[in-house]
Symmetry: C2
Subunit: 340 residues, 2 copies
DNA sequence: TTCTCCGATTAAAACGTTTCAGACAGTACC
DNA sequence: GGTACTGTCTGAAACGTTTTAATCGGAGAA
């Protein structure tokens, strides 16, 4: 059926070892032989069998990725697409897995390792108290995370600078003349949320604007919570003129609340969100937001893992911090001169 | 490092063949032996090596899925999550791949087959003139598609009944008393689009409402086209009182146009979309839409492929048609009595 | 001439499974 | 006591690679 190395060797009149060498150590084989074998390989459409290679080399040429259950605000499609593309370049396959119903998350990883299914992992949806990280670290198994963890110092990770993102959003509003800028955040304690809220404060501090504590509202993610939070802000004696939300869903909720009060978004109240989920562009008015370079994240995550695998120097703790970008749309008001 | 079958056999004091039998043909081994070996397997945390198994059995226990480039209106995350879960149950891994830059789509499939990387494919984003299908058919390689193709009679596929969906949407509006119902569709020629538009006509015909040709507008997908189409409909001498869109993006665009005319969505003009993209629920007012059971699709696709692989009876041409469901939200008007 | 070295090639082992053909001991049957 | 099973277990081959060590012919050095 499929051509094997044996077929190639027979047709080319050389040993299988030579064929293997042509592919893996082209320098040690005579040029003439090389060309002849190459021609046969081409002609037969030969591709080395993955399983055989994996068995012999004791590496699988594939990396595992746990399919996330929820993907709120996470552009899985673009992330994963780039991950796959980049992995392909390094001759690696992406293998998806998920804990079986009732199976512990960590167990799923353990199983993948035990059956020698992957050489390493790409991990997303990290956070405080993530037991996967701890387990992989003590197992000494290669992995790279998207997002920081409790053990960020000990492993490779890629993250988007949430602080810079929130700073960007806030500065944008300051540029447009706003001084009373509110922040709808998550409860303290999440890595991502705390980062972003610090960016808000930094931007204000940089411009010498003092933070009014009552302008910072913390709530869980979602449209409804965003709406409630905004109502609360609007009920203040001295309400803000602009608001930055830690996530687009909250921003969309805030927009609803603003609209319900008969105010015009962008004119009476400027809004900027975070994550640039697809619905941000589709909202009306369209929501200004902070876009994370998810394709770059995917790319970088794989590149780091490849390095780790090549040198198998676990524990070098490479890190990559990417800068998000501000996407200005109608919700942050009529375009003042400065769109940067 | 990892325990192998040899380790187990040594510790349990039996041959490797017996260990293998314990796992694969438990019936032919004495109960006592079985239990003893099982205990050792447990104790050592032994899991059969994937590569070794694949090499010996000449099947890979994995199925390939080409990462789609664009995912408009396709809930990749929920589809893929269920696919992975269901595959796991059948002891199959999902391997992602994508054509390398410059590489032909079909070539990517061919390469996967040649290197014996997968036992079969799950394919989405099908349509007229899809050369992947043709190639796989003549290669006699197992696969199941989500969506019909030019060769639907010759292979297994799963699809959502778009006709029933559009019927549901249209009937819903008829139930609410609308008689002048417009349809914003795609240009004729796409399998999915034509199906859905026929559902619109069927619903009207079933209730004895005649189709006014000028109420059917065809345009490409997207928010802007939807807006333009709606403007066109509103400019009619005798404009519709409700509109069904073949896709949510078009519906969202239509909503923008309606709003811009100073009309109130749901009261002056009812709107129903299709696909129930995340933005539908987030729009304001929230958009009524037709939801496709993507989790069921994923499930079914895998189940069919598993059957195909087991019996290796390619060409049985199993088919599965799933019925979508109507999600009623504010855009289709105040709730009249009948929400079904 | 003989020895050594070198470049090119290859035979064979190994990776961890599954499976086929036997082996082996006991049991039932004639 | 031999034959034929039967139930359990095992040795060895095979799957398609890579890799190590060995072979081999020829060229250069002594």
């Amino acid at each position: 059926m499929r051509a094997t190395i044996k077929d190639v060797s027979r047709v080319a009149g050389v040993s299988v070892a030579t064929v293997s060498n042509v592919l893996n150590s082209p320098d040690i084989v005579a040029e003439q032989t090389h060309d002849r074998v190459m021609a046969v390989i081409e002609q037969l459409g030969y591709k080395p069998n993955r399983a055989a290679r994996a068995l012999q080399q004791q590496r699988t040429f594939s990396i595992g990725y746990q399919m996330p259950r929820e993907t709120d605000g996470f552009a899985l499609d673009v992330f994963l697409h780039r991950v796959v593309e980049r992995a392909e370049e390094a001759d690696l396959a992406i293998v998806l897995f998920a804990p079986r119903p009732g199976q512990d998350q960590v167990d799923a990883y353990r199983e993948m390792i035990r059956r020698g299914a992957v050489d390493g992992f790409v991990i997303s949806a990290t956070g405080h108290g993530d037991d996967r990280i701890e387990h992989l670290l003590e197992a000494g198994f290669p992995f790279v995370t998207f997002g920081r963890t409790d053990f960020s110092g000990d492993h490779a990770w890629v993250d988007v600078d949430g602080c810079a993102g929130a700073d960007l959003a806030t500065a944008h509003l300051l540029d447009r003349g706003h001084r009373e800028i509110a922040f709808i955040g998550w409860p303290e304690g999440s890595i991502t949320g705390d980062e972003r809220s610090s960016g808000y404060r930094r931007a204000l501090a940089d411009r010498g604007v003092s933070v009014r504590p009552e302008l910072v509202v913390r709530t869980e993610n979602g449209v409804e919570p965003g709406s409630t939070a905004m109502q609360q802000l609007l009920d203040l004696e001295n309400p803000p003129t602009a608001v930055v939300a830690v996530q687009d869903l909250l921003a969309l909720g805030a927009m609803n609340a603003i609209r319900e009060r008969g105010l015009t978004i962008g004119r009476d109240m400027a809004v900027v969100g975070f994550d640039d989920i697809p619905s941000a562009a589709l909202a009306s008015p369209a929501l200004s937001s902070i876009r994370q370079p998810m394709d770059r994240v995917g790319e970088l995550v794989v590149e780091m893992l490849v390095e780790e695998l090549d040198e198998d120097s676990v524990g070098t703790a490479r890190t990559g911090i990417l800068t998000p970008e501000l996407v200005v749309r109608a919700s942050s008001g009529p375009d003042g001169g400065s769109t940067r």
